[in-house]
């Protein structure tokens, strides 16, 4: 089936008759905010044109668009006071395309968002180097730069579903801790050459200028040395404070926590430092009570964002869409099952498919009105396949908290209600 339905039409309010809808189309995805739309049954009802608002210094979203992140705490704790939140999740159910809007990129901070004057910010690079150096933000901006579109994902993404599936969750609750932006900055390799790193240095400590002084040990593999960079730009503008202004480390494909924000120190050494975050925090407890440590790479993942949790669909045409990503490389293929993982069809990928970046997928579907479960699975160009929940839990147990990348299933009941389920 190749029928395409404009997104706008899919927002038709639930109480609106189908009369006036394009003939032959009988379906839609009803978002939670759909009933806010005003009726325009006939073209005669569409308001007249006229002069609009004055041009501004920057553009705001339409007053008709309600789209926000949600500050949350640990799994199961939501609608928390912002002061108690530890992360703020991207509303994937309301987004389209491959790139996350800058202000909706997910946020995870360990001691709030520092208010840093870039004129007073410094980056110290020292340790096993010939020339320890101090850089200002302006120094960095004068250096040769690269720009790259990459996903950043908190290792806690998906953590709501380790033990059970709360049916009330949206995809924002389950998968809102991953986002994709274009970042601009200076290759780590360039900085390494400036300070003349000792050949014997194999690990690097990166430390932030936040209250927690978040620090992580980073192994200097060829891949990391060649791909990591210190970013000062985000989607074409200076970093937002929540995302590390004035500079952060970007580590394509690796744990979000390694992408140290408010970066102020890089120290070269030859062994990991065993910081709190790489021992007590971002390690994964397995069923035998042993914890997996230095599981630094984010694995192959995908999720259907439309239709997804708490949406409602009607029989007929449904455009299924979602996001896929892998810390190993490019997404090679996304498959969707609309019959509870019995059979699979290949989805279309929205070009360009970039390594270590999220890619949008889409597939046409005609829902026959019978209850079912929809689920996606991705495969990357290194051959890694996103695991089904059963085999994933068999390998990881249910206590790991972090690095959840099992396939996400959404059940659909006879009324078209879409709900979070384990499989």
């Amino acid at each position: 089936m190749t029928l395409k339905t404009p997104i706008e039409m899919l927002s038709r309010p639930a109480n609106m008759s189908r009369r006036g809808f394009v003939g032959g189309l009988s379906a839609g995805i009803l978002g939670v905010a759909a009933t806010e739309a005003a009726n325009a049954e006939s073209l005669a009802d569409v308001p007249d044109r006229g002069p609009g608002a004055e041009l501004g210094a920057h553009s705001e979203r339409s007053r008709f668009v309600k789209i926000d992140r949600i500050p949350e705490a640990t799994p199961g704790k939501r609608n928390v006071d912002p002061g108690d939140a530890i992360n703020s999740k991207t509303p994937h159910q309301k987004l389209v395309g491959n790139i996350t809007p800058t202000d909706l990129h997910y946020e995870r901070s360990h001691s709030g968002v520092p208010d840093i004057d870039p004129a007073q910010h410094r980056l110290l690079i020292h340790g096993m180097v010939q020339k320890p150096l101090v850089f200002s933000v302006d120094d960095l901006k004068r250096m040769p730069s690269i720009s790259r579109v990459v996903f950043i994902e908190c290792t806690g993404n998906g953590w709501e579903n380790w033990k059970k599936a709360d049916p009330e969750l949206t995809v924002q609750n389950t998968h809102g801790l991953v986002s994709t932006n274009e970042w601009t900055g200076v290759p780590l390799k360039f900085l390494i050459d400036l300070v003349a790193k000792d050949k014997g240095s194999t690990w690097m400590l990166a430390e932030g200028g936040d209250g927690a002084g978040v620090d992580r040990s980073i192994p200097l593999t060829d891949e990391i040395v060649n791909e990591a960079f210190v970013a000062y730009g985000q989607n074409g503008e200076p970093l937002r404070p929540a995302h590390g202004f004035p500079m952060r480390l970007v580590m394509p494909g690796f744990e979000g926590n390694l992408n140290i924000k408010w970066l102020r120190r890089l120290k070269f050494g030859n062994a990991p430092w065993m910081t709190r975050w790489e021992t007590a925090r971002y390690t994964q407890l397995h069923a035998d009570g042993k914890a997996r440590q230095f599981q630094l790479r984010m694995d192959t993942n995908s999720v259907i964002t439309k239709p997804s949790g708490m949406m409602q669909i009607q029989p007929g045409y449904v455009s299924i869409s979602g996001l896929a990503w892998s810390g190993h490389g490019k997404i090679a293929r996304v498959e969707i099952s609309t019959d509870g993982a019995k059979s699979w069809q290949q989805a279309q990928l929205s070009l360009p498919v970039l390594p270590k970046a999220q890619v949008r997928f889409q597939m046409d579907w005609v829902w026959d009105g019978r209850p079912t479960t929809i689920v996606s699975r991705s495969k990357d160009d290194q051959g890694n396949v996103q695991p089904d929940r059963k085999s994933f839990i068999a390998a990881m147990g249910t206590n790991a908290l972090f690095h959840y990348n099992a396939q996400q299933s959404w059940s659909i009941d006879e009324a078209g209600r879409v709900r979070n389920v384990l499989a």
Binding site: V134, P219, R264, T279, Q293, Q295
Partner: protein
């Protein structure tokens, strides 16, 4: 060196100069040893980076009560933030309780984290001796140092934490194997 290879080398140097002009070294300024010392706070599991000074669990009990108990509970339990004591023997259960005593593999990490990040509203405000003291107290709450115990830069890295062997490195980034030739 043959004249041929000398010529070859001269060619490389010339090409190199042309390809990489002096601008590559114009960025930043040298860091002085004194200012590096101000920021060089990290502590390794071997104790490298631990400052001079010491503190006892008895002293730490008071520091903890003054600066930590409001969030972490009077005995490191029952507070609104991370539980610090107890939980040993729960890691393989359905409800694992991860605390300093049950989970943290290195005592040095405890000093480092308190020193860099605690107390939450005023990180870095504790003196070195207070930091050692509160470290000793939290370890004593977990039965790792005695109630009248003392820690310093020599004793802290020697402490063997109960869950020291509780971690399995990811095969791809195992520090013991990563940069060693096979």
């Amino acid at each position: 060196m043959s004249s041929h290879s000398k010529l070859f080398l001269a060619g490389i140097i010339t090409a190199g100069l042309l390809a990489a002009p002096a601008f590559a070294f114009d960025f930043g300024r040298p860091a002085t040893p004194d200012e590096i010392k101000l920021w060089d706070i990290d502590v390794g599991p071997d104790g490298k980076g631990l400052p001079d000074g010491s503190g006892t669990a008895v002293q730490g009990k008071q520091v903890f009560s003054d600066y930590c108990a409001a969030c972490h509970g009077e005995n490191g339990q029952g507070g609104i933030k991370d539980r610090l004591a107890g939980g040993q023997g729960t890691l393989a259960s359905n409800m694992p309780v991860k605390t300093v005593g049950s989970f943290w593999p290195y005592a040095t990490t405890l000093f480092d984290y308190i020193h860099r990040g605690m107390p939450y509203p005023t990180p870095g405000s504790l003196s070195t001796d207070e930091t050692y003291a509160v470290t000793a107290y939290i370890l004593s709450l977990n039965g790792i140092v005695p109630a009248d115990g003392k820690v310093d830069k020599d004793s802290l890295p020697k402490i063997r934490m109960p869950n020291r062997d509780g971690f399995v490195p990811d095969p791809e980034f195992d520090p013991a194997r990563l940069f060693h030739k096979k």
